[in-house]
Protein backbone atom coordinates (compact mmCIF):
# COMPACT_ATOMS: atom_id res chain seq x y z
CA UNK A 1 0.00 0.00 0.00
CA UNK A 2 1.51 3.30 -1.10
CA UNK A 3 0.25 6.72 -0.07
CA UNK A 4 -0.93 8.88 -2.97
CA UNK A 5 0.97 12.14 -2.79
CA UNK A 6 0.09 13.66 -6.12
CA UNK A 7 -2.98 13.77 -8.36
CA UNK A 8 -0.72 12.62 -11.20
CA UNK A 9 -0.89 9.10 -9.81
CA UNK A 10 -4.66 9.19 -10.19
CA UNK A 11 -4.27 10.60 -13.71
CA UNK A 12 -2.00 7.66 -14.48
CA UNK A 13 -4.67 5.21 -13.32
CA UNK A 14 -7.20 6.77 -15.68
CA UNK A 15 -4.62 6.73 -18.52
CA UNK A 16 -3.66 3.14 -17.81
CA UNK A 17 -7.24 1.97 -18.29
CA UNK A 18 -8.01 4.32 -21.17
CA UNK A 19 -9.99 2.65 -23.92
CA UNK A 20 -10.43 -0.59 -21.99
CA UNK A 21 -13.52 -2.05 -20.45
CA UNK A 22 -13.14 -1.64 -16.72
CA UNK A 23 -15.31 -1.94 -13.67
CA UNK A 24 -15.10 1.03 -11.35
CA UNK A 25 -16.99 2.57 -8.46
CA UNK A 26 -14.83 5.68 -8.34
CA UNK A 27 -17.25 8.57 -7.92
CA UNK A 28 -15.09 11.42 -6.72
CA UNK A 29 -14.83 14.71 -8.52
CA UNK A 30 -11.32 16.09 -9.01
CA UNK A 31 -11.57 18.44 -6.02
CA UNK A 32 -12.64 15.55 -3.79
CA UNK A 33 -9.57 13.55 -4.84
CA UNK A 34 -7.36 16.58 -4.19
CA UNK A 35 -8.83 17.11 -0.73
CA UNK A 36 -8.22 13.51 0.33
CA UNK A 37 -4.68 13.56 -1.12
CA UNK A 38 -3.87 16.80 0.71
CA UNK A 39 -5.05 15.24 3.96
CA UNK A 40 -2.71 12.27 3.39
CA UNK A 41 -5.62 9.84 3.51
CA UNK A 42 -5.43 8.18 0.09
CA UNK A 43 -3.50 5.01 -0.66
CA UNK A 44 -3.05 2.88 -3.75
CA UNK A 45 -2.50 -0.82 -4.40
CA UNK A 46 -1.88 -2.11 -7.91
CA UNK A 47 -1.89 -5.77 -8.86
CA UNK A 48 -1.26 -6.41 -12.55
CA UNK A 49 -4.10 -4.79 -14.52
CA UNK A 50 -6.18 -3.95 -11.46
CA UNK A 51 -5.97 -0.95 -9.15
CA UNK A 52 -7.53 -0.13 -5.82
CA UNK A 53 -7.59 3.18 -3.97
CA UNK A 54 -8.13 3.12 -0.23
CA UNK A 55 -9.36 6.22 1.55
CA UNK A 56 -8.67 6.22 5.26
CA UNK A 57 -11.72 7.33 7.25
CA UNK A 58 -10.40 8.02 10.76
CA UNK A 59 -13.82 9.07 12.08
CA UNK A 60 -15.15 5.52 11.57
CA UNK A 61 -11.79 3.75 11.71
CA UNK A 62 -11.94 2.01 8.36
CA UNK A 63 -10.91 2.33 4.74
CA UNK A 64 -13.28 3.04 1.87
CA UNK A 65 -12.27 1.22 -1.29
CA UNK A 66 -12.52 2.49 -4.86
CA UNK A 67 -11.65 -0.01 -7.56
CA UNK A 68 -10.54 -0.01 -11.19
CA UNK A 69 -10.80 -3.64 -12.27
CA UNK A 70 -9.77 -4.64 -15.77
CA UNK A 71 -9.05 -8.35 -15.27
CA UNK A 72 -11.80 -10.26 -13.48
CA UNK A 73 -9.69 -13.42 -13.47
CA UNK A 74 -7.20 -11.75 -11.14
CA UNK A 75 -8.64 -11.73 -7.59
CA UNK A 76 -7.56 -8.79 -5.44
CA UNK A 77 -6.17 -9.81 -2.04
CA UNK A 78 -6.64 -6.54 -0.15
CA UNK A 79 -5.53 -6.87 3.42
CA UNK A 80 -5.44 -4.25 6.11
CA UNK A 81 -5.52 -3.85 9.86
CA UNK A 82 -8.80 -1.94 9.55
CA UNK A 83 -12.15 -2.93 8.06
CA UNK A 84 -12.54 -2.08 4.39
CA UNK A 85 -15.89 -1.02 2.96
CA UNK A 86 -16.94 -0.19 -0.59
CA UNK A 87 -20.10 1.10 -2.21
CA UNK A 88 -21.13 0.01 -5.67
CA UNK A 89 -23.74 2.28 -7.25
CA UNK A 90 -26.15 0.92 -9.85
CA UNK A 91 -29.26 2.17 -11.54
CA UNK A 92 -32.02 -0.12 -10.41
CA UNK A 93 -32.59 -3.86 -10.15
CA UNK A 94 -32.15 -4.51 -13.88
CA UNK A 95 -28.58 -3.27 -13.59
CA UNK A 96 -27.61 -5.02 -10.37
CA UNK A 97 -23.80 -5.38 -10.64
CA UNK A 98 -23.64 -9.12 -10.13
CA UNK A 99 -20.30 -9.63 -11.90
CA UNK A 100 -18.31 -7.20 -9.84
CA UNK A 101 -20.10 -8.14 -6.61
CA UNK A 102 -19.14 -11.79 -7.21
CA UNK A 103 -15.58 -10.70 -7.97
CA UNK A 104 -15.23 -8.96 -4.62
CA UNK A 105 -17.00 -11.74 -2.72
CA UNK A 106 -14.43 -14.13 -4.21
CA UNK A 107 -11.75 -11.72 -2.97
CA UNK A 108 -12.93 -12.06 0.63
CA UNK A 109 -15.61 -9.39 0.91
CA UNK A 110 -19.15 -9.91 2.17
CA UNK A 111 -22.35 -8.21 1.04
CA UNK A 112 -23.36 -5.62 3.60
CA UNK A 113 -26.25 -3.24 2.91
CA UNK A 114 -28.44 -2.54 -0.10
CA UNK A 115 -29.92 0.95 -0.38
CA UNK A 116 -32.26 2.66 -2.78
CA UNK A 117 -32.87 6.34 -3.44
CA UNK A 118 -36.36 7.70 -2.93
CA UNK A 119 -37.65 11.00 -4.23
CA UNK A 120 -40.72 13.19 -3.82
CA UNK A 121 -41.66 16.15 -5.98
CA UNK A 122 -44.29 18.31 -4.36
CA UNK A 123 -46.32 19.97 -7.09
CA UNK A 124 -48.39 21.66 -4.47
CA UNK A 125 -48.33 21.48 -0.73
CA UNK A 126 -51.23 19.82 1.05
CA UNK A 127 -51.57 19.86 4.80
CA UNK A 128 -50.35 16.51 6.11
CA UNK A 129 -52.25 14.95 8.97
CA UNK A 130 -49.95 12.96 11.20
CA UNK A 131 -50.44 14.16 14.73
CA UNK A 132 -49.90 11.94 17.75
CA UNK A 133 -51.54 12.86 21.06
CA UNK A 134 -49.17 14.59 23.40
CA UNK A 135 -46.38 14.78 20.85
CA UNK A 136 -44.70 18.05 19.99
CA UNK A 137 -42.48 18.38 16.93
CA UNK A 138 -40.22 21.40 16.84
CA UNK A 139 -36.81 22.54 15.69
CA UNK A 140 -34.30 21.34 18.27
CA UNK A 141 -32.49 24.28 19.82
CA UNK A 142 -31.12 22.74 22.97
CA UNK A 143 -27.55 21.52 22.60
CA UNK A 144 -28.17 19.18 25.55
CA UNK A 145 -30.36 17.13 23.19
CA UNK A 146 -27.24 16.27 21.17
CA UNK A 147 -26.39 13.41 23.57
CA UNK A 148 -29.78 11.73 23.04
CA UNK A 149 -29.56 12.27 19.29
CA UNK A 150 -26.01 10.89 19.16
CA UNK A 151 -27.05 7.77 21.11
CA UNK A 152 -30.01 7.20 18.80
CA UNK A 153 -27.70 7.61 15.79
CA UNK A 154 -25.11 5.09 16.86
CA UNK A 155 -27.75 2.58 17.93
CA UNK A 156 -29.84 2.90 14.77
CA UNK A 157 -27.48 3.36 11.85
CA UNK A 158 -24.74 1.18 10.40
CA UNK A 159 -21.32 2.27 11.57
CA UNK A 160 -19.65 2.00 8.18
CA UNK A 161 -22.28 3.18 5.70
CA UNK A 162 -24.71 5.10 7.87
CA UNK A 163 -22.85 8.42 7.74
CA UNK A 164 -22.52 8.37 11.50
CA UNK A 165 -21.91 11.84 12.88
CA UNK A 166 -19.71 12.82 15.76
CA UNK A 167 -21.41 14.53 18.68
CA UNK A 168 -19.79 17.77 17.50
CA UNK A 169 -21.43 17.32 14.07
CA UNK A 170 -24.77 16.74 15.81
CA UNK A 171 -24.29 19.97 17.74
CA UNK A 172 -23.48 21.82 14.51
CA UNK A 173 -26.69 20.47 12.95
CA UNK A 174 -28.65 21.69 15.95
CA UNK A 175 -27.01 25.13 15.73
CA UNK A 176 -27.87 25.25 12.02
CA UNK A 177 -31.51 24.44 12.85
CA UNK A 178 -31.39 21.29 10.76
CA UNK A 179 -32.90 18.96 13.35
CA UNK A 180 -36.57 18.49 14.14
CA UNK A 181 -37.12 16.80 17.49
CA UNK A 182 -40.14 14.80 18.62
CA UNK A 183 -40.89 15.59 22.27
CA UNK A 184 -43.29 13.59 24.43
CA UNK A 185 -43.87 15.19 27.83
CA UNK A 186 -40.72 17.23 27.23
CA UNK A 187 -38.64 14.14 26.60
CA UNK A 188 -36.88 13.88 23.24
CA UNK A 189 -38.11 10.58 21.77
CA UNK A 190 -37.13 10.93 18.14
CA UNK A 191 -35.53 13.24 15.62
CA UNK A 192 -35.07 13.90 11.92
CA UNK A 193 -31.90 15.59 10.68
CA UNK A 194 -32.05 17.15 7.25
CA UNK A 195 -29.88 19.22 4.92
CA UNK A 196 -30.04 20.74 1.50
CA UNK A 197 -27.89 20.47 -1.60
CA UNK A 198 -28.88 23.12 -4.07
CA UNK A 199 -32.58 22.71 -4.84
CA UNK A 200 -32.92 19.33 -3.13
CA UNK A 201 -33.82 18.70 0.52
CA UNK A 202 -32.35 15.51 1.96
CA UNK A 203 -33.13 13.47 5.04
CA UNK A 204 -29.80 12.72 6.67
CA UNK A 205 -31.05 10.60 9.57
CA UNK A 206 -34.34 9.77 11.24
CA UNK A 207 -34.66 7.70 14.40
CA UNK A 208 -37.12 7.00 17.19
CA UNK A 209 -36.41 5.78 20.70
CA UNK A 210 -37.17 2.00 20.78
CA UNK A 211 -39.67 2.35 23.63
CA UNK A 212 -41.75 4.64 21.39
CA UNK A 213 -41.49 2.52 18.26
CA UNK A 214 -44.70 1.93 16.31
CA UNK A 215 -46.51 4.92 17.82
CA UNK A 216 -46.55 7.12 14.71
CA UNK A 217 -43.61 9.29 15.69
CA UNK A 218 -41.77 8.63 12.43
CA UNK A 219 -44.82 9.70 10.44
CA UNK A 220 -45.15 12.88 12.51
CA UNK A 221 -41.47 13.69 12.02
CA UNK A 222 -41.55 13.19 8.24
CA UNK A 223 -44.78 15.18 8.00
CA UNK A 224 -43.29 18.09 9.94
CA UNK A 225 -40.06 17.91 7.95
CA UNK A 226 -41.87 18.13 4.61
CA UNK A 227 -43.99 21.03 5.85
CA UNK A 228 -40.97 22.85 7.26
CA UNK A 229 -38.94 22.53 4.07
CA UNK A 230 -41.93 23.20 1.80
CA UNK A 231 -42.52 26.45 3.66
CA UNK A 232 -38.86 27.26 2.96
CA UNK A 233 -39.49 26.77 -0.77
CA UNK A 234 -38.22 23.25 -1.40
CA UNK A 235 -40.21 21.04 -3.74
CA UNK A 236 -37.82 18.13 -4.27
CA UNK A 237 -37.11 15.74 -1.42
CA UNK A 238 -34.70 12.80 -1.54
CA UNK A 239 -33.15 10.25 0.79
CA UNK A 240 -31.61 6.79 0.87
CA UNK A 241 -33.47 3.85 2.42
CA UNK A 242 -32.23 0.35 3.16
CA UNK A 243 -33.93 -1.93 0.65
CA UNK A 244 -35.24 -4.33 3.32
CA UNK A 245 -36.42 -1.68 5.79
CA UNK A 246 -40.12 -2.43 5.32
CA UNK A 247 -41.44 -0.05 8.02
CA UNK A 248 -39.44 2.81 6.51
CA UNK A 249 -40.62 1.97 2.99
CA UNK A 250 -44.25 2.00 4.16
CA UNK A 251 -43.68 5.30 5.94
CA UNK A 252 -42.24 7.04 2.89
CA UNK A 253 -44.80 5.47 0.57
CA UNK A 254 -47.49 7.11 2.70
CA UNK A 255 -46.11 10.52 1.69
CA UNK A 256 -45.75 9.64 -1.98
CA UNK A 257 -42.00 9.05 -2.10
CA UNK A 258 -41.04 6.88 -5.05
CA UNK A 259 -37.95 4.81 -5.76
CA UNK A 260 -35.85 6.31 -8.52
CA UNK A 261 -33.18 4.85 -10.72
CA UNK A 262 -30.40 4.85 -8.17
CA UNK A 263 -29.30 2.12 -5.78
CA UNK A 264 -26.15 0.94 -4.10
CA UNK A 265 -24.78 -2.17 -2.49
CA UNK A 266 -22.01 -1.98 0.05
CA UNK A 267 -19.50 -4.76 0.65
CA UNK A 268 -17.28 -5.12 3.68
CA UNK A 269 -14.18 -6.99 4.76
CA UNK A 270 -13.34 -7.01 8.45
Amino acid sequence: MIRVEDIKLIENIFDQHKGKKIFTNSFYFLDQFLAVINENRLFIIQVNQNTVLLELKPEINCYELFYFIEDLNDAFPVESNLPIVMEIPYRGLDFYPETIVDYWCNSGFNKHINRDLYSLNLVKYDALDSSVNGLEIKITNDLNDSKVIFELLINTFDRYTGDILSIEDVQESIKSQNVLGAYFQNELVGFIRFYTKGKVSWIGHIATSPKFAGKGIGKSLVSSYIKFQSDAGYVNFQHWVMSDNIPALKLYNHFGFQKINKSSISLIKK
Binding site: F14, K197, K199, N261
Partner: protein, 76 residues
Protein backbone atom coordinates in the same frame (compact mmCIF):
# COMPACT_ATOMS: atom_id res chain seq x y z
CA UNK B 1 -27.00 16.09 -28.48
CA UNK B 2 -30.14 13.97 -28.78
CA UNK B 3 -28.05 10.84 -28.32
CA UNK B 4 -26.56 12.33 -25.17
CA UNK B 5 -29.95 13.34 -23.79
CA UNK B 6 -31.19 9.80 -24.37
CA UNK B 7 -28.24 8.37 -22.46
CA UNK B 8 -28.70 10.78 -19.56
CA UNK B 9 -32.45 10.20 -19.39
CA UNK B 10 -31.79 6.46 -19.33
CA UNK B 11 -29.67 6.94 -16.22
CA UNK B 12 -31.91 9.49 -14.44
CA UNK B 13 -35.37 9.50 -16.05
CA UNK B 14 -36.60 11.78 -13.26
CA UNK B 15 -34.36 14.67 -14.37
CA UNK B 16 -35.14 17.28 -17.03
CA UNK B 17 -31.80 17.33 -18.84
CA UNK B 18 -33.10 19.59 -21.61
CA UNK B 19 -33.67 22.51 -19.26
CA UNK B 20 -31.52 22.10 -16.17
CA UNK B 21 -28.33 24.16 -16.17
CA UNK B 22 -27.14 23.45 -12.62
CA UNK B 23 -27.30 19.69 -12.51
CA UNK B 24 -24.42 19.36 -10.04
CA UNK B 25 -24.48 22.76 -8.35
CA UNK B 26 -28.20 22.39 -7.59
CA UNK B 27 -27.68 18.93 -6.12
CA UNK B 28 -29.70 17.18 -8.83
CA UNK B 29 -26.78 14.99 -9.88
CA UNK B 30 -24.13 13.97 -7.43
CA UNK B 31 -20.83 12.19 -7.79
CA UNK B 32 -22.70 8.90 -7.38
CA UNK B 33 -24.49 9.55 -10.66
CA UNK B 34 -21.20 10.50 -12.28
CA UNK B 35 -19.88 6.91 -12.08
CA UNK B 36 -22.64 5.66 -14.34
CA UNK B 37 -22.64 8.72 -16.58
CA UNK B 38 -18.87 8.61 -17.15
CA UNK B 39 -18.95 4.89 -17.84
CA UNK B 40 -21.81 5.19 -20.33
CA UNK B 41 -20.29 8.22 -22.08
CA UNK B 42 -16.90 6.51 -22.41
CA UNK B 43 -18.55 3.42 -23.90
CA UNK B 44 -21.01 5.16 -26.17
CA UNK B 45 -18.82 7.91 -27.57
CA UNK B 46 -15.57 5.93 -27.46
CA UNK B 47 -13.82 8.55 -25.38
CA UNK B 48 -11.81 8.44 -22.16
CA UNK B 49 -12.91 11.01 -19.59
CA UNK B 50 -9.87 11.84 -17.48
CA UNK B 51 -9.78 12.74 -13.80
CA UNK B 52 -9.00 16.33 -14.81
CA UNK B 53 -12.36 16.47 -16.56
CA UNK B 54 -14.22 15.38 -13.42
CA UNK B 55 -15.27 18.86 -12.43
CA UNK B 56 -18.81 19.94 -11.54
CA UNK B 57 -18.84 22.58 -14.30
CA UNK B 58 -18.36 19.86 -16.93
CA UNK B 59 -21.50 18.09 -15.78
CA UNK B 60 -23.76 21.00 -14.88
CA UNK B 61 -25.82 20.80 -18.06
CA UNK B 62 -26.34 18.55 -21.05
CA UNK B 63 -24.58 21.21 -23.14
CA UNK B 64 -21.55 21.19 -20.84
CA UNK B 65 -21.38 17.39 -20.95
CA UNK B 66 -21.77 17.46 -24.73
CA UNK B 67 -18.98 20.02 -25.13
CA UNK B 68 -16.68 17.97 -22.91
CA UNK B 69 -17.34 14.83 -24.98
CA UNK B 70 -16.84 16.73 -28.22
CA UNK B 71 -13.51 18.13 -27.04
CA UNK B 72 -12.34 14.66 -26.06
CA UNK B 73 -13.45 13.24 -29.39
CA UNK B 74 -11.44 15.91 -31.15
CA UNK B 75 -8.43 15.04 -29.04
CA UNK B 76 -8.22 18.30 -27.10
Amino acid sequence: MEELIAILEGIRPDVNFREETELVDAGILDSFDIVTIVSDLNDHFNIAIRVTELKPENFNSATAIYNMCLALKEGK
